[in-house]
């Protein structure tokens, strides 16, 4: 049960990403011309406009680019989670995605902290990629592949 939480609504562009999540794979498009790994999904590469694209599976590690701590639930389904954290995670492959940081007290977080993906099954049809700090990680190793 999603407990009344909003669920993703996959469309023609985003369906491969959400299907990947079901298999606990973080899938992104890689441009076969210039190598840029992009997010959000698109029919062309925003850097070189090539349509030559391959879906890759990201390593699932990155760093916190920025984060915030919600003290107000704008959607009632998140009331019980307060205070909770949303963050932009910069993945090793490059893309910046929004997610939650779990397994960490909000006030221990900082920008550039290394994190890794953990999978949270919301309902049968949806698994969400969330992130937790990499314990004992060297501050500089988060962006490796």
């Amino acid at each position: 049960m999603s407990n009344g939480r909003p669920l993703p609504k996959p469309n023609a562009d985003t369906a491969p990403f959400w299907e990947g999540c079901q298999r606990q794979e973080l899938r992104f498009q890689k441009c076969l011309q210039c190598g840029t790994v992009r997010w959000p999904p698109s029919i062309i590469c925003p850097r070189c406009h090539s349509m030559d694209t391959q879906w890759i599976v990201a390593c699932g590690r990155g760093v916190i680019y920025t984060y915030v701590v919600y003290h107000v639930a704008f959607h009632k389904a998140f009331q019980g989670d307060l205070p909770y954290v949303t963050a932009v995670v910069e993945l090793g492959e490059g893309p910046h995605i929004l997610s939650n940081i779990v397994n960490c007290a909000p006030h221990e977080l900082r920008c550039d902290m290394p994190v890794e993906v953990v999978w949270e099954k919301v309902i049968r049809q949806f698994t969400l990629p969330k992130f937790k700090p990499v314990r004992g990680a060297n501050h500089d190793t988060g962006s490796g592949t």
């Binding site: 939480r5 909003p6 669920l7 993703p8 609504k9 985003t14 997010w39 959000p40 680019y65 920025t66 984060y67 915030v68 701590v69 919600y70 003290h71 107000v72 639930a73 704008f74 959607h75 009632k76 998140f78 989670d81 205070p83 909770y84 949303t86 932009v88 893309p95 910046h96 995605i97 929004l98 997610s99 939650n100 909000p106 900082r110 920008c111 550039d112 919301v122 949806f126 969400l128 969330k130």
Partner: protein, 393 residues
């Protein structure tokens, strides 16, 4: 790009106000209509003079309201303009479009209008869940709207240079002092101390309630025409000395400009170059201030201070009444009322017209008599930016 030929060629000639703050039992449309009619009257024009109509976007209608369109506004004003337009998602091009339409010869008088019944209608930026069910995938992570998205930018800025509540409290308190001089400001009767700021509750950390703009009922409108025509109209002539836009466009979650440079840098330069001046010639600023941090990063990108120097720059009331660089002299979106970019831009015009009463720049507030005011407007989350330099002729 030789824009200097357009310097001072166009003016803002009439400002329309409505009752504002909490004004229950009113549709958003009614505020658009009243503000527009008042702007026409204020300029000394008639409805049929308006041949261009540009609306700011309307947020999703509340209560049983209909969505406001330029058609509907024209119908209610009883006018049939040559050009109708409305921004689709906060791409803040209104003033540049107005000038372009007049310069090209399609229009003579362009009306720009905004209204909302957000406060009575229960639209919320900073309080609990009264908004409609989200449609974006990000909602699955509890991501909800503008407060969090600007707070993300502010957090990144705290990481990249020295900023945070110490800087933002100065901005909030200085602006509140202006609002306390403005009888139509929502916060006219409510002074704010540093302690009040520090005691205000967290919304989305690092933002407290007092870092966030107000939610308002009301509307605001103005009219753009040629300076030549403006000289024959009712109010003192206030020209658009310079104008610039820049649209980084990238969604804030993927952006690389959270901590600047935002669009303010390029748009500001374009407007200053067109005006043929530097920021040292600016007498006051009216800055789009959806959040305290927006004021800081905008002024930083304009070049008033270096990254992280805002902490000292805003101190000792520099931007408050009596200060050397007044900022947001109506109280702004933080302490007057939220009418998108119309709050700062119309205040800049009113100050230069000398119509601001107790909060009037000059002797009344121990500040410099203003000749040139720098205004800004900002759309989405730093995705769109407009810079206007206004001048009293």
């Amino acid at each position: 790009m030789d824009l200097i030929r357009l310097r001072d060629k166009y003016s803002i000639v009439g400002i329309g106000y409505t009752p504002q703050g909490r004004v229950p039992e009113r549709s958003a449309l009614s505020f658009y209509v009243e503000a527009s009619a008042n702007a026409i009257k204020d300029a000394g024009l008639r409805g049929e003079d308006i041949d261009g109509l540009i609306c700011y976007r309307q947020f999703q209608p509340v209560a049983n309201d209909v969505a406001v369109t330029p058609y509907l506004l024209a119908q209610h004003l009883g006018i049939r303009p040559t050009i109708l337009s409305q921004e689709s998602y906060c791409a803040r091009g209104q003033f540049l479009h107005a000038i372009s339409l007049i310069e090209a010869g399609f229009c003579k008088y362009v009306l720009i209008s905004y209204g909302d019944n957000a406060l009575s209608g229960g639209r919320s930026f900073a309080k609990g869940a009264t908004n409609s069910e989200p449609t974006e995938d990000l909602a699955a992570f509890g991501e909800s709207g503008r407060v969090a998205q600007f707070a993300m930018a502010a957090r990144r800025a705290m990481h990249e240079f020295e900023t945070g509540p110490k800087t933002w409290k100065e901005i909030a308190v200085n602006q509140r002092k202006w609002a306390n001089l403005n009888p139509i400001a929502e916060m006219y009767d409510e002074p704010m101390t540093y302690e009040d700021y520090g005691n205000s509750s967290w919304v989305v950390e690092p933002f407290r309630v007092y870092d966030c703009c107000l939610v308002s009922d009301g509307g605001r409108a103005c009219i753009v025409t040629s300076t030549e025509r403006a000289r024959d109209l009712r109010q003192p002539v206030v020209t658009i000395m310079g104008i610039g836009e820049h649209n980084p466009s990238v969604d804030i979650h993927q952006s690389d400009f959270m901590a600047g440079p935002t669009g303010a840098k390029a748009a500001g330069k374009t407007s200053l170059d067109m005006a043929g001046i530097t920021i040292h010639d600016i007498d006051a600023c009216e800055i789009y201030d959806c959040f305290t941090y927006t004021v800081e990063i905008t002024l930083q990108d304009y070049g008033f201070f270096g990254p992280g120097e805002g902490k000292d720059w805003f101190k000792d009331g520099r931007t408050a009444p009596g200060g050397t660089m007044p900022v947001n002299t109506s109280g702004g979106l933080l302490s007057e009322a939220y009418f998108m970019g119309m709050t700062p831009i119309t205040e800049g015009v009113m100050q230069l017209m000398g119509r601001c009463g107790e909060r009037q720049l000059g002797a009344a507030t121990g500040t410099k008599e203003p000749e040139i005011i720098l205004c800004s407007d900002n759309g989405a989350v730093f995705q769109s930016f407009a810079s206007l330099i206004l001048r009293r002729l």
